[in-house]
Each structure stands twice: as structure tokens, then as C-alpha cells.
């Protein structure tokens, strides 16, 4: 291609490179054991919309976000069990939850997160 072209600009045509689903695929290809967490429902004020993903490996490494940081720690812990058992589970987080003081959403909303193993 002739003429000036901004070769140094990040390739905006490939915004998927840091995407959790792309990371999940890459991690599986590397042989890592992986779980995928997905926000499946939100009530009230919630930091991340339904469809947001967090991908977690057996060592607790993770990418993406299901709550902007509020409950990621708890999801990562649940994911470790899901990776071992292979059984998906639905987890709810929110101020009404007894775990609120530990891992509640400071914004006052509630979210439901589906965690499953990627086989």
C-alpha cells in the first residue's frame, strides 16, 4: 500500500484480542484448565451488564470482569471448584446476600453469575 498509513496505530480491527472468550480459547489450547463466568442477570444498579464474562484458570489467573472488581474474588474461588467438579453453578451476589459484607456489590444491586467449566 502506498501513501502514508498509520502503521503504529493499534489494530482497531482486532478488538477481540483481550476478549475473555478469546482468552478462554487460547488458554484451553495451551492445555490450561479453564472456567467461564457469565453475568446472566442483574437487578437494580449493577456495574457490568448481562453477558459480561470473566475467564479463570486453575491457578486463579483471570481476565475480564463480571462486576468491576466487587465480587471477582468470590467468583474466582467458585471457579476453582467448578474446574475440579465440572459441574456448572449459578451464584447470586447482592446486598441482600448474607455474604454482602464480604463480597457484596457496593452499588446496591444484585447480579447472577453462571460459572461453567470449558472442556
Amino acid at each position: 500500500m502506498t501513501g502514508p498509513t498509520n502503521a503504529d496505530v493499534p489494530d482497531v480491527a482486532d478488538p477481540l484480542s483481550a476478549d475473555p472468550l478469546v482468552v478462554a480459547e487460547a488458554w484451553r489450547r495451551e492445555g490450561r484448565r479453564v472456567a467461564l463466568a457469565t453475568v446472566v442477570e442483574t437487578w437494580g444498579s449493577a456495574p457490568r451488564p448481562a453477558g459480561s464474562h470473566l475467564v479463570i484458570d486453575a491457578d486463579g489467573d483471570f481476565r475480564g470482569s463480571v462486576s468491576g472488581g466487587c465480587v471477582e474474588g468470590a467468583v474466582v474461588a467458585e471457579a476453582a471448584e467448578v474446574i475440579d467438579s465440572g459441574v456448572g453453578r449459578l451464584i447470586e451476589f447482592g446486598v441482600a446476600d448474607e455474604t454482602a459484607w464480604r463480597v457484596g456489590l457496593s452499588c446496591g444491586g444484585r447480579i447472577a453469575v453462571w460459572v461453567e467449566r470449558i472442556d
Partner: protein, 214 residues
């Protein structure tokens, strides 16, 4: 979920094809639905069609329990034909609004990195560039050079590729001539009616006496 399904979904997304992933929250196997595949007989046909239309992911209730529909529509893009002064404002506005912007202008005096730092800029004729960019129904095209040699092909190509927005600048007189040229070139009237002419908003122009507006 089978990692092959994740790979298949990622392949659809990388190719800018719409897809919906249906994940039963019972733990039953997930399904990947590709755009254009028949949905007759699917118990969730209406919900899946809505996911394709809206791009909104949501939990729905089917006969066998709840299912989460992950809607994956290609991210919106804006192709700006013309590295002119309004493009210098339009490109950052597009980026903030979530559109990946690309500027195409063969005139190397206009299409300079100094004028468009941080913007994807291609100093080539639209004829040479646009077919390779894969314009699609999730792409908008704004032709802003006012120069038929540059704008006309881009407009025709965008209409052929079903871009969701096809805009062009120019006065009524300029647009009238444009319609005549494109019509003579064989562009159907229905397509020509899709061109948003005078695509600049009045509010984007400096205030001037009302009597002179129009």
C-alpha cells in the same frame, strides 16, 4: 461448555458475523446459532431472533428451564471518506461513541498522520481500499469530500454492502447532481433514497441568520 463451541463462536465474531450462544443454566449442552440459520421449530425462536435484532444478551425461560442467550453482533464501524477538517472532529467523536473509525482519502496532502494522529488512516482511492475493508450492515459510511471522483464509488459500494448508515455532504444542488450520476450508473432508486444527504447536523454548523438557513 465444549471449547470447540467457544472456538466456533470466536470464529464467527472474528469474521464479523452475528451469532447467539444459547447456554442452558441446567448445565445441558450449549448451542451456537449463526445468523441466517433457520429457527423454525426452535422453542426459543422468538427470543433468539430478538437477540439477533437487539444485540442484547439476556436470560430467558424455556420449556426445559432457564437459558442464557449471549448475543454477539459485530462491533459498529465508521468509514469516513475524506480526510477533511470535519473528519478531524468526527473520528474522535466516533471513537468515544464506540465506533471503530477508518479514514480513507487518496489525497496525500489531506491524509497525513500529523492531521489524524491515532486514527486509522488509509491514503488510497476508495475503489482500491473499500472492497478489502469488508463493509457490512454493522458499518456506517460517511462521504465528506464533496468530490464525486472520491465520494461516488464509496457511496455505491456502501449501498451495495448494506451499510446501516450511508451519509454524504453537499448542498441540495450538489446532492441532486449526485443522485443523477448514481442513477445513471445504475444504482436503484430505493438505494439512493437511503443516502442521508447533508449528513452534517445543522447544530454542527456555526449559527447564522435563519433567513439564510436552507
Amino acid at each position: 461448555m465444549d471449547s470447540a463451541l467457544v472456538s466456533a463462536l470466536n470464529a464467527e465474531r472474528a469474521a464479523r458475523r452475528a451469532a447467539v450462544l444459547a447456554t442452558p443454566l441446567s448445565g445441558a449442552p450449549a448451542r451456537l446459532l449463526r445468523a441466517g440459520e433457520p429457527l423454525q421449530g426452535d422453542p426459543l425462536a422468538d427470543e433468539i431472533r430478538e437477540a439477533f435484532r437487539s444485540g442484547v444478551s439476556r436470560r430467558v425461560t424455556g420449556a426445559d428451564g432457564d437459558v442464557f442467550l449471549t448475543a454477539c453482533l459485530p462491533p459498529p464501524r465508521l468509514v469516513i471518506v475524506g480526510a477533511v477538517h470535519i473528519s478531524q472532529a468526527l473520528a474522535p467523536i466516533a471513537a468515544i461513541a464506540g465506533f471503530e473509525a477508518t479514514i480513507v482519502d487518496p489525497r496525500t496532502a489531506f491524509a497525513t498522520e500529523a492531521r489524524f494522529a491515532g486514527v486509522r488512516l488509509i491514503a488510497e482511492w476508495p475503489e482500491e481500499v473499500l472492497p478489502g475493508l469488508g463493509l457490512d450492515p454493522w458499518t456506517a459510511l460517511a462521504a465528506v469530500t464533496h468530490d464525486p471522483k472520491i465520494d461516488d464509488f464509496a457511496l455505491r459500494h456502501a449501498l451495495e454492502r448494506g451499510c446501516f448508515y450511508v451519509g454524504a455532504l453537499g448542498s441540495r444542488k450538489t446532492h441532486g447532481k449526485r443522485i443523477e450520476r448514481l442513477s445513471a450508473a445504475g444504482v436503484p432508486a430505493d438505494d439512493l433514497a437511503r443516502i442521508r444527504a447533508r449528513s452534517a447536523s445543522p447544530s454542527a454548523r456555526p449559527a447564522r441568520p435563519r433567513s439564510r438557513w436552507r
